[in-house]
Assembly symmetry: C2
Homo-oligomer: 323 residues x 2
Amino acid sequence: MSILVVGSVALDSVSTPCGRADEVAGGSAVYFSIAASILSDVRLVGVVGADFPTEYINLLRQRSIDLRGLEVAEGETFRWQGYYGEDLNVAQTIETKLNVFGEFRPEIPAEFSKSEYVFLANIDPALQSRVMEQVERPVFSAMDTMNFWLDQRRDEVARVMRLVDGVIINEEELRQFAGVRTLSSAASSVLELGPKVVVVKKGEYGCALYGEDFYFATPAFPTEEVADPTGAGDSFAGGFIGYLSAVGAIDNESMTRAAVFGGLLASFTVESFSIEELARVSIGDLQERFDEFVRYTSFDSSALEITVGKPLSSVEAPGTAAI
Amino acid sequence: MSILVVGSVALDSVSTPCGRADEVAGGSAVYFSIAASILSDVRLVGVVGADFPTEYINLLRQRSIDLRGLEVAEGETFRWQGYYGEDLNVAQTIETKLNVFGEFRPEIPAEFSKSEYVFLANIDPALQSRVMEQVERPVFSAMDTMNFWLDQRRDEVARVMRLVDGVIINEEELRQFAGVRTLSSAASSVLELGPKVVVVKKGEYGCALYGEDFYFATPAFPTEEVADPTGAGDSFAGGFIGYLSAVGAIDNESMTRAAVFGGLLASFTVESFSIEELARVSIGDLQERFDEFVRYTSFDSSALEITVGKPLSSVEAPGTAAI
């Protein structure tokens, strides 16, 4: 199965309490592609300037990411400069230079128009709609968006929601879209537009899935030290759709596992600046972290057998307990 | 097994975006006791004024909570008045009248001094220490605290931490205590003082447990509409210790289930003002919600069997998927 992603390709300059990195690979399509490529085949549509470093192109190629849809335009690559303070959940933008990305009008190569999975990363909702017009109906399509588009072009965002199967969105942006604080109500207002699943990203707190008669929540993998949160959400989406594509199923059970793998891919991303750590992840690393995550979140689900005042087993003496 | 809890008994006046309630039952020891009494035997030590309504006393008695340690002092009961804005995670205090609680010096009745489980709810750390001096070493003891004591009396809080087996604390307060943002580092600095487990409460995001070579995280039960978050943390602690007491074990596996049951008890509390909903909860209700929670959080933990580009199974046609 192949995944088509349309989004930004950027050079980021980021500072965080852990340090800084200048002019490093970034952009939603880059994080998504690398994460998804660990699990499936990826086709990237985006634009860079002639200044985009060849080393990054080679890195994407090594991941077998199909770059026939990556346009190299005259001018400079999209640049984002920002920082994170102590609250790593909030990126502060210092400067955005759209450069060649400002004129980006995605053209889906004919050989990509039949892609089983489609992800519309966070770009202008008009362009997201344009992509959906250029592809045959995929098995599963999903979109992301951000507060800027919700502020400026809410109706167009809602129009794209009507075209996709899944909406992958930050909790605050979901609340902003719906105008209500309760996530289940906010998710319902998206489901009413047509999507079959709303995937709510909660950063360090994990994620939740909302569908018709379906709910799932899972915590995030506990990262010892977050170096740079940039790209976590796009890596999550890459892992999520990458997993669905790899197993070739979009039932509820697959969605729950997809959400777990999405979270794990995001956890690799935040361990370093840019794509440094993510680009090194093998399927074996992912499996290992998955096993660890299973240990961290499992609890005995057998029925509660308690008669108040009459405990089942006798208490252990202090000091002999396992903890 | 019996649980001794020492904490506040109050009359609260609370307003939230959902409505308001005046002079209703509140206080850490009340929420804790009711939650724990669903699972085990509870002994309450606290103080009220002569004005504390008999209906609340009766309600606690109906739950078989042993009130021989509840002093009725001359004067008025502790009163707290506060409100929650859109952010239900943060209580805003309008007025606190300590009244008889201001002079509270816990005296543990002789018949309570041998209690297998002890919970020091959020009170003056000097009083928490005093309680520990009056009891025989329990099977498991735990404490809570709050920002006020961490601001004013951090050293005394640390001293209490050295005396207990578990610290049950909000994530922001844990960060404040440790002076670091990363929860695992913050938890380590508590574990170094002696406790075997740090239970981090994250409100709507669930909780995490940190021990030596032990970690567990679980989301919160998804409450449709939060009426009033007051008492959620104390209900969590009541469910946590209530479960440990009921099963008579304090190994890691019991801790994980205790954390899940703690979260479920908290979810009942926030569905109404005061103890209205919590006081109605039966062991059957708890079992039912537990089963629901298991469905909401389970995922297939079998190994990842993916060869990139060669999916295991063929894709389902659009429209036939279960979601």
